[in-house]
Symmetry: C2
Subunit: 278 residues, 2 copies
């Protein structure tokens, strides 16, 4: 039985690898090199090559469930094989954006932590505390709550100003939810597309880790994210999906992914040194 990764273990991995890179396994049959399509399980074969090529440069993998669910049962098989293949010292995030009433969220927690053996799952906050609390019943497993996302639609509701308190919706989400969990079992999704806002959320939750998407294809940089979001324990997992896994599109794609991951890792090492963490 896998026991999950604690905050302490995650920080130790970050220091050992001089990296806070999370590789997003958004594996898309229309984008992976053609030679994989001949195999029985192209998604898993591609993921395996990507994992082998990048595992020394990252501390986390984040399969996005949509890319697996769209293939039905075959997709779920590929996902489970992928998760089982990822080395146990890596932090595995199911990017699933789940959330339901309490007695239902309990089953989502069981899905991701027991059935699938992930360390963490992304959760949407709209339904409030009872949609989140059931995930905390598993030791060394994590909720990563959507706070400020990296997409255009983030502007629709997350930045609406609230009456009286002079806060925005995302701030209220962070403040309220930070009372539900602890920095040992909860992180926040904070998009890199607005890096200076990382400083605002860092003030609200100085100790929590942030999972930061939006570096690379969506325009954010490691340097800006580290400048505004890093704390004394690093406190960051920066995700790159397309920028790493589709760095190449031929038989040398694993090598290209390795180069892309290594380049990000070097930028991260510099940021960690700069902050005196390593």
């Amino acid at each position: 039985m896998y026991n999950g990764l604690s905050r302490k273990q995650l920080i130790a991995q970050i220091k050992a690898k001089k990296s806070f890179l999370c590789v997003g396994l958004d594996t898309d049959l229309t984008k992976i090199p053609a030679h994989y399509l001949k195999s029985d399980d192209p998604i898993f074969e591609f993921n395996k090559d990507i994992i082998n090529a990048t595992k020394d440069y990252c501390v986390a993998y984040k399969p996005n469930l949509a890319f697996y669910e769209c293939h039905g049962i075959k997709g779920w098989e590929a996902l489970q094989k992928t998760i089982d293949y990822i080395p146990k010292d890596q932090f595995v995030i199911a990017d699933a954006k789940r959330g339901d009433i309490g007695n239902t969220s309990k089953y989502y927690a069981q899905s991701f932590f027991e059935t699938m053996n992930c360390d963490a799952v992304t959760v949407a906050p709209y339904m409030g505390h009872d949609s989140v609390l059931p995930f905390f019943e598993f030791e060394n497993r994590w909720v990563i709550l959507l706070a400020m996302t990296s997409n255009e639609g983030a502007l629709d509701f997350q930045f609406l100003k609230l009456d009286h308190e002079k806060k925005q919706v995302w701030e209220k989400v962070v403040l309220k939810s930070s009372q539900w969990g602890t920095p040992e079992n909860m992180m926040y999704v904070v998009g890199a597309t607005r890096p200076e806002m990382l400083a605002d959320i860092r003030k609200l939750v100085p100790d929590h880790f942030f999972l930061v998407p939006g570096v690379g294809a969506q325009g954010g940089t490691v340097e800006a994210v580290a400048k505004y979001g890093m704390n004394d324990d690093c406190g960051l997992l920066v995700n790159s999906s397309r920028g790493v896994i589709y760095a190449g599109n031929d038989e040398n794609c694993a090598r290209a992914a390795e180069e892309a991951a290594k380049e990000l890792q070097e930028q991260m090492a510099a940021a960690l040194e700069n902050k005196g963490i390593i």
Copy 2:
């Protein structure tokens, strides 16, 4: 290839069956009668009996994905078999509460509408328009957006008051999102636990259907929901999960579910007659 159910077809079903009941297939191995556990696929066998017993009294079925996902691949198989077994004149709702950035939501839409052949999927609004729009690219398939949910945690964020506009978050979600889709491809989740608030949301979106959970186990009544939420096309799907599927807990459970569904259907027929719809 299944083509989905249009608004017109759904309304015709409601009138023909004198019912706007949705049966929630929250099938839980710890709650179904023990004799099913001997079968190879207890979830599907139970669902099959429930569907046979209730199909004349309801117009929709709503499997909640959490109850299937928690069993991994076996759970997905049971879900797919269940969806395939549901008669084609029923409206099938994947209660999945998905939502991600645009290029990811596209794959969720494909999962539920193409791979699984559902008519509708529940979607969480936090990530805004690009998390919702990709679902509208499928004709006669539906987004059911979370507006005001029936759980306790709904109070955490959905009812926060916004600055200037004097609206609450859920009102803004309804007003803004009603410009993304139409009453032909979009519904809202509105909990029955605050029935008088159905009148408020009905004013904002007079023509949209509401999917109303929270009747029965959670305390709402058909009468109150109809009083405050019904429009001239009915405009309601009222869900009961536990109240129907666990009405009995022995070998006669299907018969008990039939009775429970019939009782709700009779209340619904009265409400439809009262409004002059049938």
